[in-house]
């Protein structure tokens, strides 16, 4: 049911782990619905994402979308990272089964939550970045 790329990212997830004293950390999802993603960002003074790590509790698609999202934002500027949408994550994975689309939304939201934390710590405003949703699953249920 999963594409080869999803299976590859599930079997060999990129950037698993933690970053100590990260510039920003974002955790989204909830255990009730079975998906939690946490993204750590290391952002330098020029606003470039030098390193990114993730930890995920969830299904194969949740792990793969987290892994792909970290790859897509690594080395990018904060503003470029903000443009990485769930669609981009899905396309990079050669698609997801319909019931797993919410995993890609969660990955996008996890990046945004980590950027939000970074902005808060730095005391800056990132244009176009909204506060993370407390419960992404509720938001998804409204949308579908």
């Amino acid at each position: 049911m999963y594409s080869e790329k999803v299976m590859d990212h599930f079997n060999n997830p990129r950037n698993v782990g933690e970053i100590e004293n990260a510039s920003g950390v974002g955790t989204v999802g909830n255990a009730k619905c079975g998906d939690i993603m946490r993204i750590y960002l290391d952002i330098d003074d020029d606003g470039i994402i030098q390193d990114v790590k993730f930890k995920t509790f969830g299904c194969g698609a949740a792990v793969a979308t987290s892994s792909m999202a970290t790859e897509l934002v690594k080395g990018k500027t904060v503003n470029e990272a903000l443009q990485v949408t769930n669609k981009a994550v899905m396309e990079a994975l050669d698609g997801l089964p319909p019931v797993k689309v919410h995993c890609s939304l969660l990955a996008e939201e996890a990046i945004h939550a980590a950027l939000w934390d970074y902005a808060k710590k730095k005391g800056i405003v990132i244009e176009g970045l909204e506060a993370p949703v407390a419960d992404i699953e509720e938001k998804i249920e409204e949308e579908y």
């Binding site: 599930f10 255990a31 079975g34 993603m37 946490r38 509790f57 949740a62 019931v99 699953e137 249920e141």
Partner: protein
């Protein structure tokens, strides 16, 4: 993939060799419609007759109380809907449990929409219903109690005999979905006061697409599938001769080796349970420790999610199943695990391993070792585990 360890026998079983051999002649040689009058149909007719007797014997019924269907779901639908219809003048109240298979639960929900009232009994942390609760739930207008014989996910066996006794003391019919139990544990419809029983062939070494509903003589439910006069006018459709021969043979074989097989498989099951719960931290067994199906082991592993576990087990050549939401396509984990009181986040990390008489100790040793490796790997990337370690 070279290795294949099949531990999903609650989903379906391999057709036994003797069953397959017995079925074969009824595809090409004796392909007759057993309802036909000419002598060519005689062997088909006799084979159906024999199959019916073999099935009846397995559950202590008489042959004319067995009605062949396409499987467990049809039998469950028939029992509930037809009872509701036939006894509507007496009342419109049905009692069942929260941990039934969806073939019962969704049928009960359908009946609710048709104006029936359904009481869904709670279960305790082992998955057993309370006989007191059951008795209290019975009303003047209760027409049916439907409680499964053994749960398909956690394997817990319900107290059928007592349920049947209570039902009969109150003049209420008792149906049991025994799809997981028949052929695996001893069932006697008379001793257990069962009025209707659903079973399915492929769960005990028979083929898919054949099952039966036992209807006690005197229970007045009507036809569910209308058409020809097959099954004494109660279930239309050309008789599935190979299927009936297959389920009959499977019933005969299962019956002959029932206690011996159950003992052997339960011993392996206990070995698996002991190893998993003692060697994998933060794991738990779901379902009753002893009053469970011989082949069923169901675990929860904290901090990890079931689908990821299944994919990695699959890559190690192990077929298993999970009550995780992701495998069912909904966001909610198994209704059974929630009903026994597990919180959502723990219910998401469940694993069901169901054994057969072909399972060996070596298979289980391999499975436990792989499981330890996989659980550790998934925990190493789990934010829940990270938080737990930091806070403890």
């Amino acid at each position: 993939m070279s290795k294949l360890i099949y531990l999903d026998n609650a989903a379906t079983t391999k057709v036994k060799d003797e069953v397959f051999d017995a079925m074969l002649p009824f595809f090409k040689e004796n392909y007759s419609n057993p309802s036909a009058i000419y002598s060519f149909a005689q062997s088909g007719y006799s084979a159906v007759d024999e199959g019916r007797k073999e099935v009846a014997e397995l559950i202590g019924a008489t042959a004319n109380e067995i009605y062949f269907t396409a499987g467990g779901s049809e039998s469950d639908n028939w029992a509930l809907k037809a009872t509701a219809e036939a006894y509507a003048s007496k009342g419109k109240h049905i009692i069942t449990s929260k941990i039934e298979h969806h073939a019962i639960l969704h049928t009960a929900e359908y009946l609710e929409k048709q104006g029936y009232e359904v009481t869904y009994l709670d279960v305790d942390s082992d998955g057993k219903i309370s006989l007191e609760d059951l008795e209290k739930a019975i009303r003047e207008d209760t027409i049916l109690i439907s409680i499964m014989a053994a749960n398909n996910e956690i394997g817990t066996i319900e107290p059928l005999k007592e349920i049947g006794r209570i039902a009969h003391e109150h003049g209420v019919l008792f149906h049991t979905d025994a799809v997981q139990a028949v052929g695996h544990i001893a069932i006697d419809v008379n001793e257990m006061n069962i009025d209707m029983l659903s079973a399915s062939g492929h769960k005990f070494g028979g083929p898919k697409g054949i099952g039966f509903l036992y209807i006690r003589k005197g229970v007045r439910i009507k036809s569910f599938v209308h058409g020809g006069a097959q099954e004494r006018n109660r279930r239309a459709g050309t008789l599935n001769t190979p299927g009936i021969v297959g389920i009959g043979k499977a019933a005969k074989i299962s019956g002959e080796s029932l206690s011996e097989n159950a003992e052997k498989i339960a011993e392996l099951r206990d070995y698996l349970i002991d190893r998993v719960t003692s060697e994998i931290p933060f794991s738990r067994l779901n379902g009753h420790r002893t009053e469970r199906l011989p082949g069923n082991a169901n675990f929860c592993f904290r901090f990890i999610e079931g689908e990821s576990l299944l994919i990695l087990l699959d890559q190690a050549g192990i077929c298993a199943s999970s009550g995780s939401a992701c495998t069912s396509g909904s966001l909610d984990p198994s209704h059974v695990l929630l009903a026994i009181g597990l919180p959502h986040e723990i219910a998401h990390g469940s694993l069901r391993l169901t054994l057969s008489e072909e399972t060996t100790k070596e298979d289980l040793d391999y499975v436990v070792n792989e499981l330890k490796r996989i659980v550790e790997r998934l925990r190493s990337m789990s934010p829940l585990y990270e938080d737990f370690i930091k806070n403890n």
